[in-house]
């Protein structure tokens, strides 16, 4: 689910009138519902400023240097307002730049709860100082930070090279808080004095029929960054756009403002459901990141001199409506470094239960318990595995979350038990809008505890959403979150069981009758306006829910929560999806750059609705979407209420077989997915990666977003063209080889490879030099495969070398973390010997799984294969050798997957 407009029959008549106006019957987004920069007063004001001499000057005499930071005052020579600059050198090669008003009229919002801790600092040292500025050492690598006084500017240098400059274009602009001037006369006077104009939209702004009262007046901030030598920037999701960000000159900037956009269009910079203000820059020399920690509405302008003869340079400008400037400059220099640096700030991907990486079957809506049982049985009848079946909003009693429709779902526990008996699970939706209804317990408690967001007049804020008139709990309040979490206890959420997990939709939040379909900016979260923290709301919703799922199990079980809106740090709480897409080929294609962009900024657990949410896919599109989704992190089919049913077996036996095969490939590869997610959780490395992340010097990969890597070792080029007869995949890596995972055919790296395809083709290649574990015995759910044996696929590099890993734990608890109960093995093939050794000596876990088969690609025929175990025993393994493909298959080593062993080929 679910866009803000659907079949109006589920809404009250009042809404319908309003909807009738909104729905002019077209499928495209109604752009008129959402602001352009020109319609957003602060963006318009800020964008009107052109590059030039900055009015800001550093007052060097105010400089103070302590162990942890440097502080310095800046003055705007036009209005004499002073700012306070704080500079930090952070551990792990990062620099933090904070700018706030020296003496704001009232405190300005600083984003809480996103950083996992107060980032540890390293000392800065003063290298030189004169009346023009100061030079500071950033520690290693001869990195220096130059503070220029007039005009104020910062340059980060390495050797003689400028890595990045701040305010080099003079676009630092900090609207200080001021007292509203009520009379015309005093305004005139002030203008003369401060040289400041009072413009429209500073103290009040109207968009469509909505007026935003702005009691605090103008408060926006802006800063520019120049990146010499950089031609490629990425990130700042969520946008339905290419992986490589485009220059925004002549158009609107990329917008970051969490919105429920009905029927979004692809390839434009409009804001979508989530916002992560992190941009990565990349060149063949270096990868860096800029993390703009601000949760207000934000616009990002990008311009680039690409094409001119000068040294390439990309200029970026960030504009936010309120808060302070708080920027983390992640200096890389490698992509891996940037991922680690960002992870050290905001944390890593939550490690999902293994089953959450399997296949999810969703639809708005599975109608009743019988329907759920029939779909569940359908999967068994057609021998297609699945782990989760989902219930959208219709399962509730009148859109009252935490309840069940008494007619359609009279016995939820029986239903859940039925799924549990098949070792399967369910997700029910719990949205953050609460029906205003005095007979609804959840509403009454929130109201009586004063937990609702307040309107500017102080009463409970109310808006329209699925249930009709709704309140919005203030998730920014820790007490509210604790109470919300407690509602997931088994005795609170009636009918819930341990195999039931949660979906938070509409958490932008979506307000059908609000400005831009979201909350009024002057609504109040405690002392702060929604304006200050809008983009953070969705994160808090998902966080409170995830904490609820953890608590209900006494802290034992890993939660699984899917959310639509997100912010920096959301990766810690679960999965996200790309919202209400459509059954169109373009939407299938855009799912790749959308999830790649999220992966670059920490959110690995990403997926798009398989099949497309709106409209009905052709059978070919549906099959291709399954094939693509099977190789994307979050793999869930979903469909709009008004579309025809599309369970995998409804399109004839051939298509059922194609979908079955795609899903089975997913299940066989679950050990690899699980290992990648362990890594994402452990070190912040993305699961789904653009090619340039692994081939940072290969310029051919820089704007590639029709193919991707899973980890380092699998390259996927999904077929996303209608009627395709072939695709051209780029296999990177000079001197490397890649093996087709289906045919075992070997291909050289650093080439464009044309691959003829049929409807059954999913072009996937394993990198020569890697070892990937699969489970070949695909069963009806991932839980059923827990104890099954592994098959190792060893793809040899041209130097006859390969390496891989295997991670095993119980699949669902925190014991891997709290009690080090896991197995982490390193497989290495070198000198004709394949061995397994322990990567985590401090850990402990027992698995029943064993190694049933080893397939070595690019091998030559041995005379014998000897298995050696630590007890000194040796045994001969039988093998088969396929000379035409150079594939050696070792039969049944039979060793337990948790043990040390070696196979020697002679």
């Amino acid at each position: 689910m679910a866009a803000f407009v659907v079949s109006p029959l589920k809404m009250g008549p009042l809404l319908v009138l309003w909807l009738a106006g909104c729905l002019s019957g077209t499928w495209a987004v109604d752009r008129g519902n959402f602001k352009t920069c020109d319609q957003s007063a602060f963006c318009k004001r800020q964008r009107a400023l052109k590059p030039g001499q900055s009015p800001y000057r550093a007052l060097l005499e105010t400089l103070e240097l302590t162990n942890t930071k440097l502080t310095l005052q800046l003055i705007n020579d036009n209005n004499k307002v002073r700012l306070l600059l704080e500079l930090y050198r952070l551990q792990g090669n990062m620099t933090r730049v904070k700018i706030n008003e020296l003496k704001p009229l009232k405190p300005r919002f600083e984003v809480p709860d996103v950083l996992i801790n107060d980032p540890p600092t390293e000392p800065l040292s003063l290298l030189s100082r004169d009346e023009n500025g100061v030079v500071l050492s950033l520690g290693a690598d001869s990195q220096r930070l130059i503070v220029s006084a007039k005009p104020f500017r910062l340059d980060i240098m390495e050797g003689r090279e400028v890595l990045l400059s701040l305010n080099s274009r003079g676009l630092l602009a900090f609207e200080h808080l001021r007292i509203r001037k009520d009379t015309q006369a005093s305004q005139q006077f002030e203008i003369a004095k401060e040289d400041e104009k009072v413009e429209d939209g500073m103290w009040e702004e109207t968009f469509k029929s909505h007026t935003d009262s702005k009691p605090n007046g103008p408060s926006s901030i802006s800063l520019d960054f120049s990146l010499p030598g950089v031609e490629n920037v990425y990130g700042i999701p969520e946008h339905a756009d290419s992986l490589k960000l485009k220059a925004t000159d002549g158009g609107d900037p990329y917008r970051l403002f969490n919105l429920d956009v009905f029927q979004y269009e692809v390839f434009n910079p409009m804001a979508l459901y989530g916002a992560i203000p992190v941009m990565l820059s990349h060149s063949a020399q270096r990868t860096m990141g800029i993390f703009w920690l601000n949760a207000a509405e934000t616009w990002v302008d990008i311009s680039s001199n690409t094409g001119s003869s000068e040294t390439p340079q990309t200029d970026v400008r960030w504009i936010s409506e309120s808060g302070i400037i708080d920027v983390f400059i992640m200096l890389g220099p490698t992509p891996t470094d940037v991922f680690s640096q960002y992870a050290s700030l905001t944390g890593t991907q939550a490690f999902p239960p293994l089953s959450a990486l399997a296949y999810h079957q969703c639809r708005w809506n599975y109608n009743d318990q019988e329907d759920v049982a029939a779909v569940d049985q359908g999967f068994d009848d057609h021998d297609i595995p699945y782990d989760f079946i989902w219930l959208d909003i219709e399962h509730t009693d009148g859109k009252r979350y935490f309840t069940w429709d008494p007619h359609k779902f009279p016995q939820p526990k029986d239903m859940l038990q039925g799924l549990l008996d098949k070792r399967r699970k369910m997700v029910t939706i719990v949205d953050p809008h609460i029906k205003v209804d005095s007979s609804y317990k959840i509403h009454n408690e929130i109201r009586s505890k004063g937990f609702y967001v307040k309107s500017k007049d102080g009463g409970d804020y109310e808006g329209w959403c699925w249930p009709g008139n709704s309140g919005y709990p203030d998730f920014t309040n820790p007490e509210m979150r604790a109470w919300w979490a407690s509602m997931f206890a088994y005795d609170q959420y009636e009918g819930s069981m341990e195999n039931m997990y949660t979906w938070n939709d509409m958490n932008e939040p979506s307000v059908f009758n609000g400005p831009e379909v979201t909350m009024h900016k002057d609504a109040l979260h405690g002392n702060w306006e929604n304006r200050d923290l809008h983009n953070l709301y969705g994160l808090y919703v998902q966080r409170a829910t995830a904490e609820g799922l953890i608590e209900r199990s006494g802290g034992v079980e890993r939660p699984f929560v899917l959310a639509r809106a997100f912010f920096a740090g959301s990766q810690r709480y679960g999965a996200v999806w790309t919202g209400d897409n459509a059954a169109e080929w373009e939407h299938l294609k855009i799912s790749i750059p959308m999830c790649l962009s999220l992966g670059l900024v920490g959110v690995s657990f990403c997926g798009a609705d398989v099949g497309g949410f709106f409209k009905s896919p052709s059978t070919e599109l549906l099959v291709r979407w399954y094939q693509t989704g099977a190789y994307q992190p979050f793999f869930r089919a979903h469909a709009h209420l008004d579309t025809p049913r599309r369970e995998p077996w409804l399109f004839g036996p051939e298509n059922t077989a194609l979908i079955r095969e795609a899903v089975r490939q997913r299940y066989a590869l679950l050990p690899y997915w699980y290992q990648l997610f362990y890594h994402a959780h452990h070190s912040g490395q993305p699961v789904m990666r653009p090619l340039w992340v692994e081939y940072p010097q290969d310029t051919a990969t820089f704007s590639m977003d029709d193919q991707f890597l899973l980890g380092r070792d699998l390259l996927v080029h999904p077929v996303t063209e209608e009627g395709a007869r072939g695709v051209t995949a780029y296999l990177p890596g000079k001197g490397e080889v890649w093996f087709d995972v289906h045919t075992f055919q070997k291909h050289n790296g650093a080439q464009n490879l044309y691959i003829p395809v049929t409807i059954s083709s999913i072009p996937v290649f394993q990198r020569g030099g890697s070892i990937i574990s699969r489970k070949a015995r695909v069963r009806r759910s991932s839980s059923c495969m827990e104890h099954d044996p592994y098959t190792l696929f060893v793809a040899l590099s041209p130097k006859r070398f390969a390496q891989g890993e295997l991670y095993i734990d119980d699949g669902h608890t925190f014991n891997f973390d709290k009690q080090k109960q896991f197995i982490h093995r390193r497989f290495s093939f070198a000198n004709n010997a394949l061995s397994s050794r322990n990567l985590a000596p401090g850990s402990q876990f027992t698995t029943f799984s064993w190694v049933e088969k080893i397939v070595i690609l690019g091998a030559s025929k041995p005379s014998k294969a000897t298995l050696k175990t630590p007890d000194g025993k040796e045994s001969q393994l039988e093998f088969e050798f396929d000379a035409s493909m150079s594939v050696l298959t070792l039969r049944k080593p039979g060793v337990n997957a948790g043990l040390d062993w070696t196979v020697v080929l002679q």
Binding site: S7, L9, P644, R777, R779, R780, C784
Partner: protein
């Protein structure tokens, strides 16, 4: 050998991989699994030592070497299910912790605790088969009756049709005859009426002229202020309504022009002047008491609005009014309004009520009246005959339609024709009128929604008459038109047993009727067929 290996610690079992598992108990295949002899895969692809049969490693491409383990992705496992029905399950369900075979044989090593439920299931199945068999038996008897009735009904209808064909011919002749009578009577009627009308017109003209003259005389007197027997320029000049160029003033020259160039005219010359000004001329008397005439159209308009709303409810049948989607309603309403605007007849001219016409036409003279009466009678007779013919035609059409319907191989479904069957759920009353339509009506207010009109029989090739399809129902918001699939099963009674909406706007109805009951095999046979073992 025994399937039940409970008690063997299966971790060590798997690690050692030496415990041979039993060969399948499929009677026809058992012969291929001969202990201690090399095993050849059933597809012949390779031969392996017998200790690799069921050794938890897949050697055969067809999976035949692992009939008792989950090792082969394409393998299958045979559950004997003594007491119930033997069956195959995919190998992937062996030892997956879920009890699939009722005899528990699929979970011999997973730790799952399964109960042998075969006997219980067998018993239940036998019971339900028995019940089904009884129903089928009775249903089939009923079906014979239905076939018999349908045959008789069909004959009746055929007979009726023949009968109607006969009477139709007579009626056609009668209509033609009466048409001639009518036409013969209408000619003299028309002439007489025209004559009468012409005389009346002439008389009216006379009256009009008389009136005009009177008006002229009155006007002359009115204008001739000084009563000198002449109307002068000055006297006429006060009548601004006569201003030829409508500039608001009547100049002397203009007035002279009105008077034919003269300064004043006498009564007789005024006759010519009068004909030029009489249309504009306003009597000074009526000008003085100028009470604007009440706009006759106002009540008229209201009347036409009333007409619209009547028309609204009359014209739009339940199909429209019953639109479930509020959105659609909105649109429909809008459309209706537009349509209404078109459909409202242009404001009818106010029936003429001007003074001249107050005198009504005198009644026809007796001669004309008797001609009219004669013609009217001929018309009435003709109309009646024609109506009778139409009725016969309609009846014939309905009969032909009914006779033409595909009521099944033996017309066993004919009894459903023009019947309706209802099912009440918590929210709606569903109504199936076979061979006509399916509809849904909210229980608590709201109008009916058309879920589809009779389309065709839509069962599979070998059982065409097991499914009915109704389509082209009311449209869905951004979706298809509603349609309903009706699944027919054998039952003693004719009842709608369930309805659902598996996919939006695609309804499914289950319907029992004796008409689909097949000739039952003898009960013994049925039971025997399922109790082998």
């Amino acid at each position: 050998m025994d399937f039940n290996l409970a008690g063997v610690h299966w971790l060590s079992d798997l690690l050692l991989c030496t415990q041979p598992l039993p060969v399948p108990t499929i009677p026809t295949e058992r012969q291929f699994y001969e202990e201690n002899k090399p095993f050849t895969c059933l597809d012949g692809s390779s031969t392996i030592p017998f200790d690799r049969v069921n050794d938890d490693y897949c050697d055969c491409r067809d999976g035949s070497d692992e009939p008792g383990t989950a090792a082969c992705p394409n393998g299958s496992f045979h559950c004997t299910n003594a007491g119930f029905r033997p069956t195959f399950i995919p190998s992937s369900r062996i030892n997956d912790g879920i009890c699939d075979c009722c005899d528990t044989t699929d979970e011999y090593n997973s730790g799952a605790t399964c109960q042998n439920t075969c006997r219980e299931m067998g018993r239940k199945e036998r019971e339900s088969l028995q019940i089904m068999a009884e129903i089928t038996k009775e249903g089939f008897l009923l079906k014979q009756q239905l076939i018999h009735e349908a045959k008789r009904g069909q004959e009746d209808k055929q007979g009726k049709l023949t009968e109607l064909q006969g009477s139709k011919k007579g009626l056609e002749e009668k209509v033609e005859a009466l048409r001639t009578v009518k036409e013969t009577a209408e000619d003299p009627e028309k002439e007489a009426k025209e004559r009468h009308l012409k005389a009346w017109e002439e008389q009216k003209e006379l009256i009009r002229m008389e009136k005009d003259k009177t008006r002229m005389a009155e006007a002359f007197l009115e204008l001739d202020d000084d009563a000198d027997g002449y109307v002068s320029v000055a006297e006429l000049q006060s009548h601004l309504e006569l201003d030829p160029d409508s500039d608001g003033s009547l100049s002397e020259t203009e007035t002279q022009g009105l008077l034919g160039g003269a300064d004043k005219v006498d009564t007789s010359t005024f006759e010519t002047v009068w004909s030029g000004i009489k249309d504009k001329y306003l009597s000074e008397v009526s000008q003085g008491q100028s009470e604007p005439p009440a706009p006759v159209e106002t009540p008229q308009e209201e009347e036409s609005r009333d007409f619209v709303s009547d028309h609204d409810s009359d014209h739009y049948p339940e199909d429209y009014a019953g639109e479930e989607d509020v959105e659609d309603d909105e649109e429909d309403d809008h459309e209706e309004e537009e349509e209404e605007e078109e459909k409202v007849p242009p404001t009818v001219q106010t029936p003429e009520k001007r003074e001249d016409d107050e005198v009504s036409m005198p009644p026809y003279d007796t001669e004309t009246q008797s001609l009219i009466d004669a013609a009217q009678k001929a018309r009435d007779d003709f109309d009646e005959a024609e109506r009778a013919l139409r009725e016969v035609d309609d009846q014939m059409k309905n009969l032909e339609k009914e006779i033409g319907f595909d009521f099944g191989p033996s017309a066993e479904f004919a009894y459903l024709y023009s019947q309706c069957y209802e099912l009440s759920t918590s929210e709606y009353i569903y109504r199936l009128c076979p061979f006509n339509r399916v509809s849904q009506k909210p229980k608590f207010g709201g109008s009916e929604t058309n879920l589809g009109l009779w389309g065709q029989w839509a069962g599979p090739e070998d059982n065409l008459y097991s499914v009915m399809k109704y389509d082209h129902g009311q449209g869905c918001w951004q979706g298809p038109n509603r349609s309903t699939t009706v699944k027919l099963t054998c039952g003693k009674e004719t009842v709608v047993t369930s309805t659902s909406e598996p996919s939006r706007c695609e309804y499914l109805m289950e319907f029992t009727t004796p008409a689909v009951c097949q000739e039952p095999a003898s009960l013994d046979e049925v039971l025997h067929g399922h109790t082998e073992l």
